[in-house]
């Protein structure tokens, strides 16, 4: 394989109007607005619907648990289900996902357990799952940094002729970071099999998108890297899934990276410690609640007769079961071993760390000795 790529794509400006397959009333669209993408088959849409409903149940449950103090923090994706679920559903279990802190619900679709996903938000350890097992990287906190990891892993796989795709999630705010630029550029120059999803939820904490970019769409950025860019209605899971599937297929067949912008809205606060009343009007939130991604698909599925009462019940039950599993997982506080703090920093053992570990061990022993004495003295 030669990595010397000099061929250029024809340059196309992303459409200013977001690509959309279902309108807000759940009607299937035709013509220019679809950007030439086809509505996925109804069984696929039903599956996406199920995942979204279950994901939202999870998200609501975790927000509630966080308010009860069971988690240190939780960044909700309420309202962003179409982006979160639509895109991650376009990759296979062999592909890799590089998520941010916002993307807990995408991880559900990857098969991760609530207890794994939430370990860092509960404060137990910085990351709670086996990344290779799930082909899902740890959630990145330093913004946009994970996009480069996704590009590097994709390039390594390509060098090994391993036909996998990497999918990196980013927020609108994160596109302003230098690392986003470098990731887009490396991916394009190396033609790595990488799909970038920018969830434009229109705010970076309190900072609105108008202070983040002067471009018409975030997908416009793709032009400057010579890669295809799509500006998509991020509350239309059909469109998100269709565009992402095309991008994943192109990536897998050697066609290089794609930038997908999903235009959406975060209904909840940034995290539980945020106060969104300081920076956005309640009526804006109401406006976006009326464009709910789940309701939209639901209307379509109902109109297609695909959403029977049985199906509804089954989905609701799955959601409740997951919520229960989530509550259960968050109600047991695992025994954490402070001495483990020293065990994973280096593969190669270090004397100084062993000394510090021993010091903490002695301190812990002294404390429990002391505690025992206190109990005995009472």
């Amino acid at each position: 394989m030669s990595l010397n790529v000099e061929h250029h794509e024809p340059r196309v400006l992303p459409s200013e109007k977001p690509i959309r397959l279902l309108d807000n009333a759940g009607h299937a669209l035709r013509g220019r607005e679809t950007g030439g993408f086809e509505l996925p088959p109804v069984e696929r849409l039903l599956d996406l619907y199920r995942r979204m409903v279950v994901a939202r149940r999870f998200d609501v449950q975790v927000t509630a648990l966080t308010k009860q103090g069971r988690l240190a923090t939780y960044p909700s994706a309420y309202g962003q289900e179409a982006c979160e679920i639509g895109v991650v559903s376009a990759i296979t279990a062999d592909d890799w996902l590089f998520p941010t802190y916002r993307d807990s619900i995408a991880l559900l679709t990857r098969g991760l357990e609530p207890g794994e996903i939430l370990q860092s938000f509960r404060g137990d350890w910085h990351n709670g799952w086996d990344q290779h097992e799930h082909r899902t990287a740890a959630m990145a906190t330093p913004l946009a940094t994970q996009a480069l990891h996704a590009v590097g892993l994709a390039h390594a796989a390509r060098l090994r002729s391993d036909p996998i795709v990497t999918l990196a999630y980013l927020g609108d705010g994160a596109t302003s970071e230098g690392d986003a630029h470098e990731a887009f550029n490396f991916a394009a120059v190396w033609q790595t099999p990488t799909v970038f999803l920018v969830q434009n939820n229109q705010f970076a904490i309190s900072t609105p998108i108008a202070r983040q970019t002067h471009a018409t769409t975030l997908a416009d950025k793709a032009v400057g890297y010579g890669m295809p860019g799509y500006h998509v209605d991020g509350n239309d899971v059909a469109a998100m899934f269709a565009v992402a599937t095309a991008a994943v297929d192109r990536a897998r067949s050697g066609g290089g990276p794609t930038l997908i912008e999903g235009l959406t809205y975060r209904i909840e606060s940034h995290t539980n410690s945020d106060d969104p009343t300081r920076y956005r009007a309640a009526r804006d939130v109401e406006h976006w609640k009326r464009r709910d991604p789940i309701e939209r698909l639901e209307k379509y599925l109902v109109s297609e007769g695909a959403l029977t009462d049985d199906v509804r019940t089954a989905i609701a039950e799955a959601g409740e079961a997951l919520a229960a599993r989530t509550r259960d997982a968050m109600s047991v506080s695992p025994e954490l071993d402070p001495l483990e703090l020293f065990d994973h920093v280096y593969a190669t053992p270090r004397t100084a760390l062993a000394e510090q570990r021993a010091a903490l061990e002695a301190e812990l022993a002294a404390h429990s000795e002391h505690a025992r004495e206190e109990v005995a003295a009472r």
Binding site: A72, T73, Y101, S120, F121, R122, G123, D124, W125, H126, N127, T141, P142, L143, G173, A174, S176, E177, G178, D179, A204, I205, S206, T207, R211, Q212, T213, D275, R278, Y279, L336, P338, L341, F342, V345, R350, A352, L353, Q356, L360, E363, L364
Partner: protein, 342 residues
């Protein structure tokens, strides 16, 4: 706590004493500096309508308008790099990095330009700018929200690095940092943001390049800065009952280091320990121990101890209590040392 000194006549008349948090004192300092000098501008991530994630810039945009206080795009190198240009023009930008770890994207701008511009231009271009960094841990933050970055800045010639430990200093030192013609990395210990004091503004404490003896003692000098001044004071209070007289020095300025004040305390007690949250290896405490030893070797009755975080990444919220230097750990360390001496 630093002793407030009388206000110079030029400043606005002092207000009646009021209880203020450190965050509130910092906010007041920004507000007063902006009112006095229209070259002062404040920007960064979420410093506008939100008032910053720690509310240090609360209300400033409403008071001074969007041309004085604004939300920038989300890019730390961009924030610091544009501040360099603004300072070259003659403004006095005060920018915020949201957490230590999120100042790292700005590392090149800070080390290669902010720190070096004045020297490069033979003093013809000074950069009067302040980089505010909410710093350190003990707030139950998830990964990357509790780093201690002071060793990086202190090791960089050309930077002035300060860290207040209490509301009065927070106000006074931030005012002084903004007034300084040198660029200042202004570190704000997050875990102390909500600590309170009665303050009559505008309060002025000792010059920001001076350390302060915040508790007198005769047996040991405990050296802290930012969050660990409280740790040192608590340890000193506990030790008192055991007959150990501990002097506590609040460094306040990490670069420059106040050799005079700290050295004098050490020569009095002949024993010292430095406390910080950051990992020990290569941490700021190494400089403290090394230079105090160099300059006061024959006054020392024992090696200078470093009571610090472990040489590991900062832990997750549920484990941070085991990482942080506590008053207990300080006392145990001192005990082991006395015992060594026996």
């Amino acid at each position: 706590m630093s002793t407030p000194v009388t206000e110079p006549a030029t400043d606005a008349a002092a207000s009646a004493p009021q209880p203020l948090t450190m965050a509130g004192a910092l906010n007041a300092a920004l507000r007063d500096a902006m009112a006095e000098d229209d070259r002062v501008v404040v920007y960064g991530e979420d410093v506008g309508p939100l008032g910053g994630v720690f509310r240090v810039t609360d209300g400033l945009q409403a008071a001074f308008g969007e041309d004085r206080v604004w939300d920038s795009p989300l890019a730390e190198s961009g924030i610091v790099g544009t501040a360099v240009g603004m300072a070259m023009y003659g403004l006095r930008p005060v920018v915020e990095m949201q957490f230590d770890a999120f100042s790292y994207p700005a590392f090149e701008q800070i080390v290669s330009h902010v720190a070096k511009m004045r020297n490069r231009t033979k003093g013809r271009v000074s950069l009067p700018m302040v980089i505010r960094i909410p710093c350190a841990g003990a707030i139950g933050g998830v990964e990357h929200h509790s780093d201690s970055s002071e060793a990086y800045w202190a090791a960089t010639p050309g930077l002035t690095v300060v860290m207040p430990s209490n509301p009065a200093d927070a106000y006074s030192m931030l005012r002084e940092a903004i007034d300084s013609d040198d660029p200042v990395v202004f570190m704000e210990p997050k875990s102390r943001y909500w600590s309170k004091a009665e303050l009559a503004l505008p309060v002025r404490t000792a010059p920001m390049n001076r350390a302060e003896v915040v508790r007198e003692g005769t047996d040991v000098t405990l050296i802290g800065y930012g969050p660990t001044v409280r740790t040192a004071l608590d340890a000193a209070a506990a030790a008192e009952s055991e007959g150990l007289s501990i002097e506590v020095v609040d460094l306040r300025s990490l670069s420059p280091f106040d050799d005079e004040t700290v050295g004098a305390s050490l020569r009095k007690t002949s024993r010292a320990a430095v406390i910080h949250e950051a990992a020990q290896f290569g941490g700021y405490g190494a400089e403290v121990a090394a230079r105090l030893t160099e300059r006061n070797f024959f006054h020392l009755a024992a090696p200078i101890l470093r009571i610090t975080g472990y040489d590991i990444p900062y832990p997750s919220p549920k484990l941070e209590e085991h990482y942080l230097p506590t008053p207990d750990r300080v006392l145990e360390a001192l005990a082991s040392w006395e015992w060594d001496l026996a």
